[in-house]
């Protein structure tokens, strides 16, 4: 135990003597939160719309002014030529073409079906779908207005309709900041856990100082624990900084228990630190370590459900996520912060994290070689 304390003391001395690292450790979480939380959003605003109005009736103009009135659409171009519109769509001058054929107004006036054509740039499939959903929402609305306006002239025999009133639970305003912030917090803790400790270990290999430790009677688990503890603390401090920014800058509602969040992050950090130190045992240089660590980190992060709900990932991906610690913490952070989930709601995730932590740390200790 005393040996570990001496080793931990040495790690702290070295970390804080390195001015760059000791400043970066605290600047990184601040920058990451301030940049990523507001920037990464799925909301779509200002879809650039091109109108081909071959109809030029009050009905077509009514529809256009309705589109202009919504915050989603901005009419950036009007033309009568379908060719020109298609060319410009190709050059990415706008995202959507709405073609109103002549006769649209007349058809509506005489009680026939009005036809429209929309062409959406679907390079980004999910934003195309959203655009389409917004557009059809506006048109549906317009449609309902026509129905009610004409209710006296045309015998629409009051088709019974189902009207749905919805409420969005846990994030009523559908504020993307609220969704992203717990995710970005997870990233933050992951980066600290994954990179710093492993690099530190490999650097000692490069410098040759690790050999001087290997020739002492220090135990392998003591070395590994001593490398973990400082970065475990730094990770938790970064988490606190992130939470404070979340509260002060983004006014995130924090529904659940802060203690629970910290306990889960603590277990998570052990898991990723163990994994990083395991990678460091077979990396001969910082370059090799970075290469492998980056590979793992990108896969863990993108599969964790930060951007895409992992319930909709293919089956094999969900199976992979059983060993992905980032996926568990991503889920836990969101559930605890936004939903106020308690330890009972997330017990499965916590147990999985504990299992991963125990496995990765014992792998790191086992794989570490004091005698080659």
């Amino acid at each position: 135990m005393r040996t570990i304390l001496y080793l931990i003391r040495k790690e702290f001395l070295q970390i804080f003597r390195n001015k760059f690292i000791s400043r970066a450790m605290f600047a990184v979480p601040i920058a990451q939160m301030l940049l990523l939380v507001p920037a990464v959003t799925f909301e779509i605003k200002n879809v650039r719309l091109c109108i081909i109005d071959n109809d030029l009736t009050s009905e077509s103009r009514g529809l256009i002014s309705k589109l202009e009135g919504s915050t989603f659409f901005k009419v950036t171009f009007s033309t009568f030529s379908e060719n020109e519109a298609n060319n410009l769509l190709h050059k990415n001058k706008f995202d959507l073409i709405l073609n109103i054929p002549s006769g649209f107004g007349k058809n509506l006036g005489t009680g026939k079906t009005g036809k429209l054509m929309a062409s959406v740039d679907a390079i980004n499939a999910s934003s195309a779908q959203l655009t389409w959903a917004y557009l059809s929402g506006v048109i549906r609305d317009y449609n309902r207005n026509i129905l009610t306006k004409n209710i006296n002239t045309i015998p629409v025999n009051l088709v019974p309709q189902i009207i749905i009133t919805n409420r969005f639970w846990y994030n009523e305003m559908l504020n993307y900041n609220h969704y992203m912030l717990p995710g970005v917090l997870t990233l933050l803790v992951t980066v600290v856990g994954f990179l710093l400790a492993g690099l530190n270990m490999v650097r000692e290999k490069e410098m040759g100082t690790i050999e001087q430790l290997n020739v002492t009677p220090v135990r392998k688990y003591q070395l590994i624990i001593a490398k973990m503890v400082p970065f475990l603390l730094i990770g938790l401090i970064d988490l606190s900084i992130g939470l404070i920014i979340g509260k002060l800058v983004f006014n995130i509602p924090f529904v659940g228990s802060i203690t629970l969040l910290f306990v889960c992050s603590f277990i998570f950090l052990i898991a990723v630190l163990g994994l990083a130190l395991f990678i460091s045992t077979f990396s001969g240089s910082q370059q090799q370590f970075m290469f492998i660590a980056f590979f793992c980190m990108i896969i863990f992060m993108l599969m964790s459900g930060l951007f895409t709900p992992y319930e909709s990932m293919p089956n094999w991906a969900q199976i992979f996520n059983m060993i992905n610690p980032v996926a568990y913490l991503m889920k836990i952070n969101r559930m605890v912060m936004l939903k106020g989930s308690t330890i009972h709601d997330i017990s499965r995730e916590i147990i999985s994290l504990i299992v991963i932590a125990v496995c990765s740390t014992s792998l790191a200790v086992r794989r570490y070689r004091k005698t080659a």
């Binding site: 005393r2 040996t3 304390l5 001496y6 080793l7 003391r9 040495k10 001395l13 070295q14 003597r17 390195n18 410098m207 040759g208 100082t209 050999e211 001087q212 430790l213 290997n214 020739v215 002492t216 009677p217 220090v218 135990r219 004091k370 005698t371 080659a372």
Partner: protein
């Protein structure tokens, strides 16, 4: 003098098909200064790493301080000190912090560490350097300090792998005075070197060539045997027979 602290029998170390140590046999006696000579790449560092438990032998028997190196390398580590040719104190820690770290790892009490640190700094004329970073010390001082830390916990044996490489003649002389002083306290010194004048200071020397030990005796006997004036001549006769 015949109380041996290192016994090596039929030691072989292979890296793949490359043989670094080819059937070595020798003994080192308690309290002596044992010089381990050889050309670059002869296999000296490999041997010293095996003796200090950093590397496992491929075959053969290695007993250090009564402990079998293939079976309990970690037990050996409690009994030895080690200083490698690659400088390996922490450059971003101060002199005192380095001493404190290694003293602590070897399980010395805080008060003992403090007391010995004071003595050590006094003895080395290091008073003003205690709180300086290693990175700010000249090489000669660093090497003296590295040696002092290697014997700080009073090991039975200390292994020195080219400890005086790149050091000026005056510091080298002082360094060897430290080695003598250490040996006089009963600590066995196992040292590799390229400086043949240093070899003259050893009680016994062995000369390695192409993974084998080709000569082992006192410097005087070797000089007589090879009819040479200095150890350097002996070395050249052995390393370049024609």
């Amino acid at each position: 003098m015949n109380n041996s602290v290192i016994t090596v029998r039929n030691l072989v170390k292979k890296f793949g098909s490359f043989v670094a140590n080819d059937n070595l046999n020798f003994e080192v006696y308690a309290g002596e200064i044992f010089g381990f000579l050889g050309a670059n790449g002869a296999g000296k560092t490999t041997t010293i790493r095996i003796l200090s438990g950093l590397s496992a032998p491929t075959s053969g028997e290695v007993i250090v301080a009564g402990i079998n190196a293939s079976k309990k390398p970690e037990e050996i580590k409690k009994q030895i000190g080690y200083m490698s040719q690659k400088f390996s104190l922490y450059e971003d820690l101060t002199v005192k912090e380095n001493i404190m770290l290694y003293g602590g790892i070897y399980g010395m009490s805080k008060s003992l560490i403090k007391e010995r640190t004071e003595n050590l700094l006094e003895k080395l004329n290091f008073r003003d350097y205690g709180n300086k970073l290693i990175a700010d010390l000249p090489l000669g001082l660093r090497q003296k300090l590295a040696f002092s830390i290697a014997v700080f916990h009073e090991p039975k044996i200390v292994f020195l792998d080219e400890p005086t490489g790149g050091v000026d003649p005056i510091t080298r002389r002082q360094f060897w005075e430290m080695i003598y002083e250490t040996a006089s306290r009963g600590i066995t010194v196992f040292v590799t070197t390229h400086y043949m004048d240093e070899a003259e200071y050893c009680d016994r020397i062995s000369i390695m060539s192409e993974a084998k030990i080709v000569a082992l005796d006192t410097p005087e006997n070797l000089k007589k045997l090879y009819n040479a004036a200095t150890v350097e001549d002996v070395f050249i006769k052995i390393a370049r027979p024609n």
